[in-house]
Point group: C2
Chain length 203, copies 2
DNA sequence: ATAATCTGATTGATTCGTCAATCATTTTCT
DNA sequence: AGAAAATGATTGACGAATCAATCAGATTAT
């Protein structure tokens, strides 16, 4: 009953083992205070092996940042593909999805914040985040526009609504650290929605 | 017309020169990637002098975090002493003040975020921030309560409103990085106010 | 008033430890 | 057997902290 994996598959698995260890430790300890030896230990490989899969500590950090970002991106672009219905419903569902995502990927989000906090140190990664924000604004713009015409949303520029929404998402990860398990996320969703428009009938 | 400073005064000035250099460089480069030699250079003193004013690199970081925090604290406690009037007015003025403060002390706020991102690395400093948040909640609670009775504010627990407000303040520092000069702060203030209650007549 | 002495602040070369990256060797595959 | 992957000891660079030497400015003595 062995898995029977090809060489390439095994390599991929080992690579992602190392990458996940890196995400964990980088997010906890930051770039500078994470030792490659620790990542190797966490991943269950030797020190040297890390360097057969990644060119340098720096390159490993970039991968640890960029690869999960691609995954997260899908939830922030093509909004209208993911969430159907009236603008208010779309936004409600979207927020719910994002809040859940942010509470689950808590660990990775710390890496995002490390990069946001140091644009000069990580210019390439920082630009990726800028593109991400702009992509989100473009994607949500038609939803906001229709919602405003229907009178559900405030008459603010899309970019302001979108950015303040991203701000609260980001900030909440910082402010509500320990309370990740609890039902507070429902409340957060409601507060986030208030940045878009007045809530008429609450759940 | 010489200043005629006592030794103690000179020492104080030198200490604060070093501290300000430290705040600047720690905020830009984080704890681990800031070299004490750089701080010395920035402050215009020799490497060794840094250690006559601060016990260690770590102690200097703690001072760079704690001393400005005391100053910022005053704007987040004794809310009702600083801002008078109807609850809605108090909150409006408070938000305005905080937003301005956050846009001015941009640099120092990065240090706060470094600490928030690494509770295990800086437990003592992290606890200070927790106390700060709780102090703010206590201070704003009576304002919220009265505002709710008057029908201006949403019927949410004070802690939720306060925390989501702190979240958006914090998050905005991350999301609107480069736009610090512009008039966007007025918009941000408006968005922040929406976490408290519906805005009736906009400016 | 001026020189001699004292005090303690300042300096930066040196020390010591840490860690990323390399690479010669061993192990594991086919 | 031969190639590829894994290993970890070694190396070299870097940076925090120390400390012995220097210097400036105040105090005392003549």
């Amino acid at each position: 009953m062995e898995p029977k994996l090809t060489i390439d598959e095994k390599k991929k698995i080992k690579r992602s083992t190392i990458l996940n260890a890196a995400i964990k430790l980088y997010s906890e300890n930051g770039f500078a205070e994470t030792k490659v030896a620790e990542i190797a230990k966490e991943a269950g490989v030797s020190f040297g092996t890390v360097f057969t899969y990644f060119d340098s500590k720096e390159a490993l950090y970039e991968s640890a940042f960029l690869e999960p970002l691609e995954e997260i991106k899908t939830y922030f672009i093509e909004i209208e593909k993911h969430f159907k219905g009236e603008p208010l419903e779309v936004v409600k569902e979207m927020i719910d999805c994002h809040v859940q995502l942010f509470s689950k990927r808590n660990e990775y989000l710390r890496i995002i914040q490390q990069v946001l906090a140091r644009p000069d140190r990580f210019p390439k990664l920082f630009n990726e985040l800028n593109d991400f924000v702009n992509g989100f604004i473009v994607s949500i713009h038609p939803v906001i526009e229709v919602g405003q015409k229907l009178g559900y949303f405030y008459e603010e520029p899309t970019s302001l609504i979108a950015k303040s929404y991203l701000s609260i998402l980001n900030g909440m990860r910082l402010t509500f650290v320990d309370e990740s398990t609890s039902l507070i996320w429902k409340d957060i969703t409601r507060q986030a929605l208030r940045l878009f428009g007045p809530i008429i009938n609450e759940g």
